[in-house]
C-alpha cells in the first residue's frame, strides 16, 4: 500500500515535470498575449491602458522582459511602433484600449499601411456579450481599420487567441509588409486555456521557411529583362522602399555597378544607395532635382525596383517616362501595371530579383549618358548659385548639412511632413543605409517625434535627429514627456517659419498668394522644452547653427533646437500638380519661373 502510493506520487511528479518541460500551462488570455509576444521575440511595445485592455495590463507586470512604453497619445504608440519597424525590420507593437484608444491608432496604422511597414496593434474590445450594443467605449475597430490594415482579427474565443497573435506577426512581416490589428474582447483576456509555445509557428520561423521556397524569377523573364537592359542606350534604375525593406543594398549596388546604370532613389528609397556613389543621381518627382526628372524624361528604359510609381513621383502619368520601356520589380503582384504598364513585370522580392538579374546581365558602359545627366545637374546648380540669398538667418540647407557633418553621417534622421521634409530629403547627404525615415505615402504630420522614439529604441547606438516644422511638431508634442520618461537621447530640430510652409507655398503658386489659415503661431519652444524637463536652444542667426548642433550633441539627453528660418522660403524645383515632371517651377533671382 505504502509502496503503491509512492509510485503514484512519483508518476504524478514526472508528469508535472514533463508538463513544465513542455510549458503546457493553463493561462489567461492576457497571459497568452504576453507569452506569444515573448515567443515572437518582442521586447518592446508602445501603448496606453484603458478599461477594455486592463486585464492585459494586469498581466503585463508579471512579464518584466516586455518593456512597455507609456506614450501620451495612442497615435504616438502607432507611429513609435512604425518607427521601430522601419529602423529594425522587425515588427513594431502597439497597444490601446477599445473605442477612442483604438480610433486614435488609426492615423498611425494608415501611415504604416501606405508605407508597407510591419506593425502589430493589439486593442482591447468590450466584452463579447456587449459587442454590437453600443456599449461604453465600443467601436467596431475591425470595420474601421479594414481598409488600412493588411489584415485584422476579432478574437471571439480564447482558444483562437494565440494563433491570432502569431498569425498577425507572420502576415505583418511576410510578403509586402503591413500593419495587422488584433481586437481582443475583455472576457477573452480573462478566459483561460492552455498554451504551449512550440505549437505555434513564429514569424521568424515562417520567414525562414518561405525564404527557402522563394525561387528566383523564371529564366524566361530574366532573359527578357536582360535583353531590354542590353539594348537600352539611356537606362535608369529607380529604387524604392522595397529595396530598403528587403535589405537589398548590396544587390542594388552590385547591379548598378555591373551595368553602370544611373540610380534614382524615391523618397522612401533614399539611402538605398549612398548619395556619395558616383551612379546616384537623386530623387525623382514633385521636388526632385531637375536633372533627375529630365533623366526620366529622356530615359529609354526604367528598371523600377520596389516602388509603386506614386503620383508624387510620376506627376502627370501620361507625360511620365514617355520614351521608356519599363521593367518593374515588386513583391506585390497588384502593383504591376497599376500606374504604368510594365514591359517586363517581375513579381519577386527585390533582393532575390536583383541578385538573379545581376547574374544574367552583361557589363555595360553608360558613362556618356551619365555625363549628360551630370551636365544638366551642373547647369541647374550653376543657375541656383547665382541667386543672392540672405545669409544672416539659418538656411535649411545649412542646418541639414551641419547636422550631417557634426554626426559624421552616422545619424538616422526622422523627418515630419512639409517643406522641411523635402529639404531634408534633398539636401541631407544620405550615406548610411536606412538612415532616412519619413511618412511618404500618407504624409502624416506629427509622425516624426513619436516615430523617432521607436527608431532610437530599435537602434540605440545611432544618433537620432528629428527634423520637423513648427506646424507638425505640435501634432504630437506631448511625446516630449515620453522622451523625458524613457531618457531617450533624441535631438529635435524644429524649422520655424511661422507658416504651414508647404501649404503656404502652394497658396503662393496656385492660389494667388491667398494665405488662408497658413500663418501659425506656436509656443516658446525653448520654454516648452524646459517645461518638459528637456534642454531647449533657439537659433536665429546662421553663424550660430554649428555651435547649436554641436552643443545639442554634447548634451546627454533629449534636446529641442528651434531654428528661426526665412518665413517664405520655398522648396525648389517644384512640379505643379497635374503636369509632367519635366516641366518644373525653378527658383530665379526674381522669384520663381516655370521652366521646361
Amino acid at each position: 500500500m505504502a509502496i503503491a502510493t509512492k509510485i503514484i506520487q512519483q508518476s504524478d511528479a514526472t508528469k508535472q515535470g514533463e508538463q513544465q518541460g513542455e510549458s503546457v500551462r493553463e493561462l489567461t488570455g492576457s497571459e497568452i498575449i504576453c507569452e506569444a509576444l515573448m515567443h515572437e521575440g518582442v521586447t518592446l511595445m508602445y501603448g496606453y491602458p484603458g478599461g477594455a485592455i486592463m486585464p492585459f495590463y494586469d498581466a503585463l507586470t508579471s512579464y518584466p522582459t516586455l518593456h512597455h512604453v507609456l506614450v501620451r497619445h495612442e497615435q504616438a504608440a502607432a507611429h513609435a511602433a512604425d518607427g521601430y519597424a522601419r529602423a529594425t525590420g522587425k515588427a513594431g507593437v502597439c497597444v490601446a484600449t477599445s473605442g477612442p484608444g483604438a480610433t486614435n491608432l488609426v492615423t498611425g496604422l494608415a501611415t504604416a499601411f501606405m508605407d508597407s511597414t510591419p506593425v502589430v496593434a493589439i486593442t482591447g474590445q468590450v466584452a463579447s456579450q456587449f459587442i454590437g450594443r453600443d456599449a461604453f467605449q465600443e467601436t467596431d475597430i475591425i470595420g474601421v481599420t479594414q481598409p488600412i490594415t493588411k489584415h485584422n482579427f476579432l478574437v471571439r474565443n480564447v482558444a483562437e487567441l494565440a494563433e491570432a497573435i502569431h498569425e498577425a506577426f507572420r502576415i505583418a512581416r511576410s510578403g509586402r509588409p503591413g500593419p495587422v490589428l488584433i481586437d481582443v474582447p475583455k472576457d477573452v483576456q480573462f478566459a483561460r486555456t492552455t498554451y504551449r509555445a512550440s505549437d505555434y509557428v513564429t514569424s521568424d520561423e515562417y520567414l525562414r521557411s518561405i525564404a527557402a521556397q522563394t525561387s528566383r524569377p523564371s529564366e524566361y523573364i530574366l532573359k527578357e529583362a536582360a535583353q531590354l537592359i542590353a539594348q537600352a542606350k539611356q537606362p535608369l534604375i529607380m529604387a524604392g522602399h522595397g529595396v530598403v525593406l528587403s535589405n537589398a543594398y548590396g544587390e542594388l549596388k552590385a547591379f548598378a555597378e555591373k551595368t553602370s546604370i544611373p540610380v534614382i532613389t524615391t523618397l522612401l528609397g533614399l539611402s538605398a544607395l549612398s548619395d556619395a556613389h558616383p551612379l546616384h543621381i537623386g530623387m525623382p518627382g514633385m521636388h526632385g532635382p531637375a536633372h533627375a526628372n529630365h533623366a526620366i524624361g529622356a530615359a529609354d528604359l526604367i528598371i523600377g525596383v520596389g516602388l509603386r510609381f506614386d503620383d508624387r513621383v510620376t506627376g502627370n502619368v501620361s507625360k511620365f517616362a514617355t520614351n521608356a520601356q519599363i521593367i518593374h520589380i515588386d513583391i506585390d503582384a497588384s502593383e504591376m501595371h497599376k500606374v504604368k504598364v510594365a514591359t517586363v513585370p517581375i513579381v519577386a522580392d527585390a533582393k532575390v530579383a536583383l541578385a538573379a538579374l545581376n547574374e544574367v546581365v552583361a557589363p555595360a558602359d553608360h558613362s556618356a549618358w551619365l555625363g549628360e545627366i551630370r551636365s544638366w545637374q551642373a547647369a541647374a546648380e550653376g543657375r541656383s548659385q547665382q541667386i543672392k540669398r540672405d545669409d544672416t538667418i539659418p538656411s535649411p540647407i545649412d542646418i541639414l548639412s551641419t547636422i550631417r557633418d557634426v554626426t559624421k553621417g552616422e545619424a538616422i534622421v526622422v523627418s515630419d511632413v512639409g517643406q522641411h521634409q523635402m529639404w531634408t530629403a534633398r539636401f541631407y547627404e544620405w550615406t548610411r543605409p536606412n538612415s532616412h525615415i519619413t511618412s511618404g505615402g500618407l504624409g502624416t504630420m506629427g509622425f516624426a517625434l513619436p516615430a523617432a522614439m521607436g527608431v532610437k529604441m530599435g537602434v540605440p547606438d545611432a544618433p537620432v535627429w528629428v527634423v520637423a516644422g513648427d506646424g507638425g511638431i505640435q501634432m504630437n508634442i506631448q511625446e516630449l514627456a515620453t522622451l523625458r520618461q524613457e531618457g531617450l537621447n533624441i535631438k529635435i530640430a524644429i524649422m520655424n517659419n511661422g507658416y504651414l510652409g508647404m501649404v503656404r507655398q502652394w497658396q503662393q503658386f496656385f492660389h494667388s498668394r491667398n494665405y488662408s489659415e497658413t500663418p501659425i503661431t506656436g509656443p516658446d519652444h525653448v520654454k516648452l522644452a524646459e517645461a518638459y524637463g528637456l534642454v531647449g536652444i533657439r537659433v536665429t542667426k546662421s553663424e550660430e547653427v554649428e555651435a547649436a548642433v554641436k552643443r545639442a550633441m554634447e548634451i546627454a539627453g533629449p534636446v529641442v533646437v528651434e531654428f528661426i528660418i526665412e518665413s517664405e522660403a520655398n522648396v525648389y524645383p517644384m512640379v505643379a500638380p497635374g503636369t509632367g515632371i519635366t516641366t518644373m517651377i525653378e527658383e530665379t533671382a526674381e522669384g520663381s519661373t516655370h521652366n521646361g
Binding site: K150, I171, D311, V317, S318, K338
Partner: protein, 180 residues
C-alpha cells in the same frame, strides 16, 4: 451599385483605352471568418471596380463562401482588381470565368399586372422564355425564371407591355465546366 451603362472614370492611372470594357465574371472563394466578405466588398469598392452584381452563398466545402461578382471593366483593370482580391488574407481563390466555358445562371421573380391583358396572355409570353408561374393573386402574377442574364433581360422587355410591378433578381452565379 454603379449604373450598368457607365464605366467609372479613373484617376488617370491604368488608363484603359475607351470601349475596351466588358462584363467579367469573377468567382471568389473566401474563408468564412468574421469580416471576410466585408474585405472582398471593400476591396471592390476601394479599387473602384464597376460592380454590376454580387452574390454570396455557402459552398460544398466547410467554412468556405463563394462570391460571384460581375464587374464591367477593361482587361487591364480587371487584372488589377483580381490581384487586389488575391491579397486579402481570407481569399483562397479568384478565378476570372469570363473566357472559360462557364455556365451562368440568375434567378428572377417578376410581379406582372394581369388586369389589362389577362393571365393567359402573360403566361404565354412567359413560357416562350422558360419562365413559370410562382404565385397568382386577383390582380397580379409572380413569374419565376432561371436563365442567363440575356434571356432574363428579354423576358423583362417582353413583359413591360403588361405592366411590371416589381422585379427581384438574385444576381448571377457561375460554374466553370469540368472544374474542380
Amino acid at each position: 451599385m454603379a449604373n450598368p451603362t457607365s464605366v467609372a472614370t479613373r484617376a488617370g492611372t491604368t488608363n484603359a483605352p475607351e470601349g475596351t470594357d466588358r462584363l467579367h465574371i469573377l468567382v471568389i472563394l473566401v474563408e468564412d471568418r468574421p469580416g471576410a466578405i466585408d474585405r472582398v466588398v471593400g476591396a471592390l469598392r476601394r479599387r473602384r471596380a464597376n460592380t454590376q452584381s454580387l452574390t454570396m452563398s455557402q459552398t460544398g466545402k466547410p467554412n468556405m463562401v463563394r462570391v460571384t461578382a460581375l464587374v464591367k471593366d477593361a482587361e487591364v483593370v480587371i487584372d488589377q482588381v483580381i490581384e487586389q482580391l488575391r491579397k486579402i488574407v481570407d481569399v483562397r481563390q479568384v478565378v476570372n470565368a469570363t473566357d472559360k466555358q462557364a455556365v451562368l445562371r440568375e434567378l428572377a421573380l417578376i410581379t406582372v399586372d394581369i388586369k389589362s391583358a389577362g393571365l393567359h396572355a402573360i403566361i404565354e409570353v412567359a413560357h416562350q422564355f422558360g419562365a413559370s408561374v410562382a404565385d397568382v393573386t386577383a390582380d397580379s402574377v409572380i413569374l419565376e425564371i432561371t436563365s442567363d442574364a440575356q434571356t432574363l433581360e428579354k423576358l423583362i422587355e417582353a413583359l413591360q407591355a403588361f405592366g411590371i410591378r416589381e422585379i427581384a433578381r438574385s444576381g448571377c452565379v457561375a460554374l466553370v465546366a469540368g472544374g474542380e
